[in-house]
Each structure stands twice: as structure tokens, then as C-alpha cells.
């Protein structure tokens, strides 16, 4: 009986040591990014709150995202946020207030990451800032 118990414990341990994994190959092209705000071509003025709203979905596990807003003239990044998220879908709701003094074009880039090597896909939205 004693040896039976010990053998059972060893078998349970061995069985529970097997780990299955999702074998879906990373495919950045199948990531769906829907940016609902800001809208393309939308114009913002000094002190306006720019809402950054987006939905991201994928067929397997996403690992994170980065939202970046850059001045299209200078390339200077004026807003940058990155987060780890482990899910096959998530929503982004961020806010940013621009207090710049010069009119310029802005580009929002949302990058969704699909693996631990930083592989991902991105979507861009161009909008305007006129103080």
C-alpha cells in the first residue's frame, strides 16, 4: 500500500508536469486595431482634451501596446505611453491635453505587440492642432 501511494504521487506529479501551449504562430497582420478617437483630420485647440480611444483584437495572446503622438513636422514625440496587457482584446482610453503654441500636424501611432520579441502591427491617425 505504501509503495502504491508513493507511485501514485509520482505519477500525478509527472502527469501534471506536462504543459500544453497555444501553438498559434504570431501573425501581426491579423491584429485588428480600431481607433475611434481622435478622428482623422480632426482639429484641436489649445487646452482641448484629446481623448485616445481604441479597441484592439487578435486571434491569440497580445502582450502589450504603445500609443505615441508625434509632431509631423519635426518628428518630435509629444505623447508616449506603453503598457503590458495579456489578453486577446483590450480597450484603450487615455487622455492628453496639448498646450503648444504653434499650429502643427500630429500623428497618433498605436502599436500592438504580439510576442515577446516586440513583433507587432501599428495603425496611424493624422489630426491637426491649432492653438
Amino acid at each position: 500500500m505504501r509503495s502504491g501511494i508513493l507511485v501514485s504521487l509520482i505519477l500525478i506529479t509527472a502527469i501534471c508536469s506536462c504543459q500544453k501551449k497555444d501553438s498559434t504562430a504570431p501573425d501581426p497582420a491579423s491584429v485588428s486595431i480600431n481607433i475611434t478617437s481622435p478622428a482623422s483630420g480632426q482639429v484641436y485647440h489649445s487646452g482641448d482634451t484629446i481623448s485616445i480611444d481604441a479597441d484592439v483584437t487578435y486571434t491569440s495572446e497580445l502582450h502589450g501596446y504603445e500609443v505615441k503622438i508625434a509632431d509631423t513636422a519635426s518628428g518630435f514625440v509629444v505623447y508616449d505611453d506603453a503598457q503590458h496587457v495579456h489578453d486577446d482584446h483590450f480597450n484603450i482610453h487615455d487622455k492628453w491635453v496639448n498646450t503648444g503654441t504653434q499650429a502643427t500636424g500630429l500623428k497618433l501611432t498605436l502599436t500592438a505587440i504580439v510576442d515577446h520579441d516586440g513583433g507587432g502591427t501599428e495603425k496611424n491617425i493624422d489630426f491637426e492642432y491649432q492653438p
Binding site: R2, I5, L9, C16, H63, A82, H84, T111
Partner: protein, 305 residues
């Protein structure tokens, strides 16, 4: 003395969580070497462990993030004999954990996951005086999700799921413990395995094996005082976590092995006992190499009754 120490060492491993490259244990406890079978006991123990980790950035232009994590557990625990062959252990931990990252410091505290064990004495051979003796106990138990747990998604945005006092999951533990004694010294070999289940967020912490080999020597003094120095090795192997167990999203940047050199001392005066223990890492590969365990220390006091 009546307090001839029949040694029972029992090591438990209670799993914890992991973010991308963590997997450090938020509650990883050891009973250590305990006095003889027939006594019940109740005690308090303190455990401290620390890890350093590097979170490689997923995003271009963002630096890797470094962190120092400190895990502290104050635990009420005890053993109660039921009949001649069964022993019941109960553990009630309180956690206080701190994360010092490059960009922020966070902490979390609260009641941890309460667990219990029921062990059966399989072999109990005291042997002749001054001769050989040995004993084997084995059994299992349950860890309950009583500790505070926020879920995975929210803290994971901060990279801090390990800091939570609770895991949110029901976990099963099995263990076996063998002691061989000759005169005043002996060897103890123990192994404990934790089988985890997914919590309500479908996050599943990796199953964990914890094993140890300890040598000890019993020194008795007049007046009912005895000392028990001990030294040995400990080994811990943890499987990968699942970010989502239902979808089989395996986090291959979690889990790994840790091995420690272990030195400790116990002191007994009549029915009062204290213990100190220190473990230093010897070799390790944890969290895909991004996590480094540092020393562990433990101290406790207990009363036999």
C-alpha cells in the same frame, strides 16, 4: 531528555504569481525541522526573501526596467496530531511585499492564502538507543484563495501581480518526508509538490516542486536546553505560468529552477522552541534568466503542547 529530538523536516511550497518575467514567489514557506511526532505545536514565523529582475522592454526606444522585490511573510502555524497516525498542519500567512522598480515603488499587504495539510505517518521506527532509526510521512493538503487578489489584468498593467497577498486559486499539495537518524545526527530528505489550478481570471501559476536534503546534529545540555544545527541543500523547480489557462497561453518567461545552500539552528528549552535559517542561492535559472533570487531568511518561535 524527553525532548530527544526525533526529527521531522517538512517543506511546503505554496505558489505565487508571475508577470512577464517574474515568477518570484509571494509566499514560499518552509516548516523546517520540527520536534518529535507526538507533540502538537503552535507558533509564529517570519520569512523574508528577495529577488532582482529585469523586464526587457517590448517597445522600441524604451529602456529595460529593473526591479528589486522583497517578500515578507508573518505566519501563524501549527500542528495537531489526530490519533497515532495522522498529523494536521495549518498555515495562516500575512504578507507584506514591496517592489522597488526604476520608475515607482509599490507595496501590497494583507492576509495571504490559508492552507492545511493532512499527513500520514507511514514509517515510524525509532530504532534502538544510539542506533539507527527512520521515519516516513506523506500526505496532501489544500491551499485556499483567502488572500486578497485583484485579478491579473489590472496589476499586470503595472507589472506587479506577484505582489498580491493572494493567488485567487485553489491549489493542491502533496508531500513526502523521510528521515534517517543515527545517534545524534541524521539526514532528512523531503519533497513537496504543488498542483495549481486556474483562478477566476483563468491565470494559472506554474506547478512547483520543492525538495531538500538536510543534515542535522542534536546537542543536549543540562537544564533542558538543546541545540540543533543543520545544513543542506534546497531545490525548487517551477513550471511556466499560464496567462490564460483555458486558451493555453503559456508564459515561457516564467518558471525555472533555484537551488540554495541552507544553514540553520534550532534551540529548545523545555516546551519552547526557536529557529533561525538562512539560504543562499547556489545556482539558478529563473524567469528565463531575467530573475535572480537572493538570500532567504527565516525565524520562528513555537510552543509544544
Amino acid at each position: 531528555m524527553k525532548h530527544v529530538l526525533t526529527i521531522l523536516a517538512l517543506t511546503l511550497s505554496i505558489q505565487a504569481g508571475a508577470c512577464d518575467v517574474c515568477g518570484c514567489s509571494a509566499s514560499n514557506q518552509y516548516l523546517g525541522i520540527l520536534p518529535q511526532f507526538q507533540w502538537n505545536f503552535a507558533g509564529i514565523q517570519y520569512q523574508h526573501s528577495s529577488f532582482s529582475s529585469v523586464h526587457p522592454s517590448l517597445f522600441e526606444g524604451w529602456p529595460d526596467e529593473h526591479a528589486q522585490d522583497y517578500y515578507n511573510t508573518i505566519q501563524a502555524w501549527g500542528r495537531y496530531n489526530v490519533g497515532r497516525r495522522l498529523q494536521v498542519f495549518l498555515f495562516v500567512p500575512y504578507q507584506y511585499n514591496i517592489d522597488h522598480a526604476d520608475t515607482a515603488t509599490s507595496s501590497s499587504s494583507g492576509l495571504g492564502d490559508i492552507s492545511f495539510l493532512v499527513n500520514r505517518i507511514m514509517i515510524k521506527d525509532k530504532g534502538s538507543a544510539g542506533g539507527w532509526g527512520h521515519q516516513l510521512i506523506a500526505g496532501g493538503g489544500l491551499k485556499m484563495p483567502t488572500g486578497h487578489h485583484n485579478g491579473i489584468t489590472t496589476p499586470d498593467r503595472l507589472g506587479l501581480p506577484n505582489l498580491q497577498p493572494g493567488t485567487g486559486s485553489w491549489d493542491f499539495m502533496i508531500n513526502a518526508n523521510y528521515t534517517l537518524r543515527h545517534n545524534k545526527q541524521g539526514l532528512n530528505l523531503d519533497a513537496a509538490y504543488t498542483l495549481t489550478t486556474a483562478n477566476k481570471d483563468n491565470f494559472k501559476y506554474g506547478n512547483r516542486l520543492n525538495a531538500g536534503l538536510l543534515w542535522y546534529y542534536a546537542l543536549k545540555f543540562k537544564g533542558g536546553v538543546s541545540l540543533l544545527p543543520q545544513a543542506g541543500l534546497r531545490y525548487q523547480y517551477t513550471l511556466h505560468d499560464y496567462d490564460n489557462y483555458r486558451k493555453k497561453w503559456l508564459n515561457e518567461q516564467s518558471g525555472g529552477y533555484l537551488s540554495f545552500g541552507d544553514v540553520g539552528l534550532q534551540a529548545y528549552y523545555k516546551r519552547l522552541g526557536i529557529r533561525l535559517d538562512c539560504q543562499l542561492p547556489l545556482a539558478q535559472h529563473y524567469g528565463n534568466g531575467y530573475v535572480n533570487a537572493k538570500q532567504k531568511t527565516e525565524a520562528g518561535i513555537f510552543i509544544l503542547f
